[in-house]
């Protein structure tokens, strides 16, 4: 029994009875044409926002971080919220590329490339915020422990902030290597299709002499499996350690044992929402509806629902135990979270993260593209607010009522966050122009999935739906 047997309930992963050659043309064609008008519009918008953000960063570094809305009670707020938000976004990419690979989820092949790219760009955005917070980013390398001439000045190894440095730099490195290794066969195809010498030289250099021999594929597959194995624990460790930035403290609302898995669940949740946001646009603009199919969207909505509900369970558990603990500080922090001056942020968080994804219980809504797009944005907003709620509401009412204070971000802070979105979208837009957004080498491996005579009528129907969306 060498050829796999599929249940009649299985659907093919790629629509439209494509030939292998057609897959290459469909994906590579986008890179070989001149950019479309929509692309230029998006690119100009993204770079303008990025430029604005860059100006803000220059201003706040020139003036000092006194340009932020922080005060003695609320010493941490907007900047760290953005940092955790972006780190979280990155998680879906690694989950899709590594964890789903190890779990042999073949549907990942159409979406893993762009999700991984998104991870790298999100990590890049996240890294900006601690760097800006340093005030003197040119001394940023001081976070690394190395023998130095500053006297016995070492980073504090007991601080979770230093663990972050290791966790995130490891995560960024492995993600980049994993992504790049996955790209090599596809880069070689682009090289072989190149019409100009320049293009051939650049992609040839990047393809590292890939010749597509059986030996090369064998090495490739082993490397890929090992990297997936290495990347998987990182999905969990990075956000667990980010959660420890808070949970190792003794601040009510920050210190609770559920934080590591709860943060990981939240990260995957927000990451999937961002993957949905990006891919819904990408598939439409680049006409990838036969590859990133409604079935893919449907599955991603299910994952989003699961993780959204897990996050909801964690909210509930925290609330119950805050009361159960009998600690008046814990209890007050949570009552204040829901009813205090920033209570509205709490309810934004609950509505966006717990209530909004409940639409995905229904197949109809999991296939309703405009609704999913809106919900993915709503979840992104909700997950930003989740971090804001955790950080701000736990701080702003100090133990001493005389120290109580409020916090509002300044325009500079808001524009810096906006600027990070500019960076994120700029990078993503460049990515879809220069590298294949779909791992077509891998997609070819799943073309036969669940395809049989029995299915042919279904392909036609699916093709029809896919084609309908083009016009």
């Amino acid at each position: 029994m060498s050829h796999p047997v599929y249940s009649p309930l299985r659907e093919p992963l790629v629509y439209g009875n494509k030939s292998l050659g057609q897959v290459t043309t469909d994906v590579c064609g986008v890179l070989e044409r001149k950019p479309s008008k929509e692309w230029w519009l998006g690119f100009m918008a993204a770079t303008s926002i990025l430029g604005l953000g860059a100006l803000c960063v220059a201003y706040q570094i020139g003036t000092g971080i006194g340009t932020w809305g922080l005060n003695r009670t609320v010493g941490w707020a907007f900047d760290i919220t953005n940092f955790v938000f972006w780190i979280g976004i990155g998680h879906a990419g690694t989950l899709i590329s590594a964890v789903l690979f190890l779990l042999r989820q073949k549907w990942r092949t159409s979406i893993n490339r762009s999700a991984e790219a998104m991870t790298l760009f999100a990590v890049a955005c996240a890294g900006l915020f601690p760097l800006i917070h340093m005030g003197r980013p040119w001394l940023g390398y001081w976070v690394f422990p190395y023998p130095n001439f500053r006297g016995p000045v070492w980073p504090n190894f007991r601080s979770p902030l230093l663990w972050d440095v290791f966790a995130i730099s490891t995560y960024g490195t492995i993600s980049a290597v994993f992504w790049y290794v996955g790209l090599i066969p596809d880069l070689a195809t682009i090289r072989d299709r190149a019409k100009t010498t320049m293009r051939k030289a650049i992609y040839g250099f990047l393809a590292m002499g890939w010749n597509g021999s059986a030996k090369a594929w064998r090495h490739y597959e082993v490397t890929y499996l090992i990297l997936a194995g290495l990347a998987t624990p990182l999905v969990f460790s990075v956000h667990s350690i980010v959660s420890m930035d808070f949970a190792t403290s003794v601040i009510p609302g920050w210190h609770t044992t559920i934080f590591p898995p709860y943060f990981v669940a939240g990260a995957i949740f927000s990451g999937f929402a961002m993957v949905l946001t990006l891919l819904l646009i990408t598939r439409k603009v680049l006409h990838y509806e036969d590859y990133i199919t409604v079935d893919h969207i449907d599955k991603m909505c299910k994952v989003t629902l699961v993780f959204g509900s897990l996050v909801g369970l964690a909210y509930g558990t925290e609330f119950l135990i805050a009361w159960y603990s009998g600690s008046q500080y814990e209890g007050y922090t949570f009552i204040n979270r829901a009813t205090g001056p920033f209570g509205w942020t709490y309810w934004v968080m609950v509505s966006c993260n717990v209530i909004a994804p409940q639409f995905f219980w229904f197949r109809k809504f999991r296939r309703h593209i405009p609704l999913i797009f809106v919900l993915s944005l709503v979840i992104n907003v909700g997950m930003w607010f989740e971090r804001f709620v955790i950080i701000l509401t736990s701080l702003h009412r100090d133990y001493l009522p005389s120290s109580w204070s409020l916090y509002y971000p300044t325009l500079i802070e808001v524009l810096t966050l906006l600027g990070s979105f500019g960076l994120f979208f700029t990078l993503f837009l460049v990515f879809v122009r220069v590298l294949p957004p779909i791992a077509f080498g891998e997609v070819k491996g799943v073309m036969s999935y669940a395809r049989s005579q029995k299915h042919s009528h279904r392909h036609e129907a699916a093709k029809h739906v896919g084609a309908g969306a083009h016009h």
Binding site: M1, R10, S240, Y324
Partner: protein, 436 residues
């Protein structure tokens, strides 16, 4: 290749049932002996057995539901084993009911240390000196009575949640929910044996999704109610996740052990190395997950060093009788199975996997024993460990008794339906499943 239209039916051999029966009797002898010696110790052992049984039964239905919900196909050839495991929910329920009766009817002083808050209403308003561990409290000096007063106030604060009636109502509700979904999903699966209607699979996907929602919440709450509340002043939000991890690792191991035994008896020839490979993957995944959750709880409590939280660990890491279990627990449940299961050949080798599964099942007892074992000897207000020692082998014996009962009910339940769900739309896929 077409599916063979009919499937084998399991018939338990009298030898198998006899072995289960002997285990059960041996366990009850251990329990009875302990009961005559120290009732609190006996009931703490009983609680370990009851909780363990409940979690393994619950895994049976959870694993079916998880695979329905995620559209997995590979597990169809082993699903009847998981379905039959779920029949033990009734044993879990009866064991918990007997525990409640035992707790409420005993007049032994030491018994007040098990679910200390359960006895709160006896001396409501009578002052703080008479609560659990009365003898010790009666001899208290003023420093201790202040501690007792604070302790008593804390129990009063928690009494809306931790009180006899609500606790029992919740317990019945958990079992009712689990039992209802298990009945729905399993009966749909069996009806499909007759009509082969694909709608039954679709219905089960819906029931499974709904079940998982309730399952997630009730497993957390049940572990708070039955284990965490043994030390009523202690709390940890991750506690439910910790026991979910244990449920999963233990449940996969139970499945492996039962498959191995059934195949030795000549059944389930459809199951091959590919199915074992998947179970092996689940076992290493859940082993790592358990280790991760163990570390998260331990590290955060250790690092922050807040007395309300550290009470759980300080005692267990410093008491000369219990400290070794702290290290044994981590080594046994994480380090050893993790290193062994990294090997692909081991995951595909039925026999090797069987021995690791037995190892993990012993590990589940260690984990529960380490949590529950000290309770009968612990004064919860002062954290003074007192006057007697637990007898390890009696706890092992009691759990063996539960294992025998579990096996007995499992074999009986398995005989009630064909061993293979041959008309499941994923059956063919499962037969030809290729892992790796």
């Amino acid at each position: 290749m077409e599916a063979s239209g009919h499937s084998q039916t399991f018939k338990p051999t009298s030898k198998a049932l006899f072995v289960c029966f002997v285990m059960f009797v041996a366990g009850m002898v251990c329990f009875g002996y302990t009961l005559s010696k120290n009732p609190a110790e006996a009931w703490s052992h009983w609680l370990i057995g009851a909780f363990y049984t409940t979690m393994m039964a619950l895994f049976g239905i959870f694993f079916c539901a998880m695979n329905y919900a995620s559209g997995a196909g590979w597990n169809v050839v082993i699903r009847r084993v998981n379905e039959a495991m779920a029949s033990n929910l009734i044993i879990g329920f009866l064991a918990m009911v007997i525990l409640v009766i035992g707790l409420l009817t005993s007049h032994d002083k030491g018994m007040e240390r098990i679910y200390e808050w359960l006895h709160l209403h006896h001396d409501h308003g009578a002052g703080s000196l008479e609560h659990a561990g009365g003898e010790m409290a009666a001899a208290a000096h003023s420093g201790q009575s202040a501690l007792d007063k604070a302790h008593h106030e804390l129990l009063e604060h928690k009494s809306p949640w931790l009180n006899q009636n609500f606790w029992i109502i919740r317990m019945v509700a958990y079992f009712a929910i689990w039992g209802f979904f298990a009945w729905k999903i399993i009966s749909n699966s069996r009806k499909q044996d007759i009509d082969g209607d694909v709608k039954r699979t679709r219905a089960n996907v819906r029931w499974s999704c709904l079940f998982i929602v309730f399952f997630a919440a009730t497993v957390c709450l049940a572990s708070f109610d039955w284990i965490m509340s043994l030390e009523p002043t202690w709390f940890s939000t991750i506690f439910g996740v910790y026991h979910f991890a244990g449920l999963f690792a233990g449940g996969v191991s139970t499945t492996i052990v039962l498959l191995f035994i059934l195949r030795r008896m000549g059944y389930l020839k459809e199951v091959n190395a590919n199915h074992f490979h998947n179970l092996g993957i689940w076992l290493i995944v859940t082993t790592i997950f358990w280790g991760y959750i163990w570390f998260s709880q331990m590290m955060l409590i250790w690092y922050s060093n807040i007395p309300e939280e550290t009470q759980f660990y300080v005692f267990r890491m410093t008491n000369p009788e219990w400290d070794k279990w702290f290290y044994i627990n981590l080594g046994w449940n994480f380090i050893v199975p993790f290193l062994l299961l990294l090997q692909q050949p081991i995951k595909r080798n039925e026999k090797a996997l069987f021995f690791i599964a037995i190892w993990v099942l012993i590990g589940r007892w260690i984990d529960l024993y380490w949590s529950v074992g000290p309770i009968p000897f612990l004064d919860h207000a002062t954290h003074v460990y007192g006057f007697s020692k637990d007898t390890v082998w009696l706890s092992v014996g009691t759990v063996v008794g539960f294992a025998g009962l579990f096996g007995f009910v499992f074999f009986k339940a398995l005989a009630k339906a064909p061993l293979q769900a041959t008309k499941d739309p994923y059956y063919e896929e499962s037969l030809h499943h290729h892992s790796a």
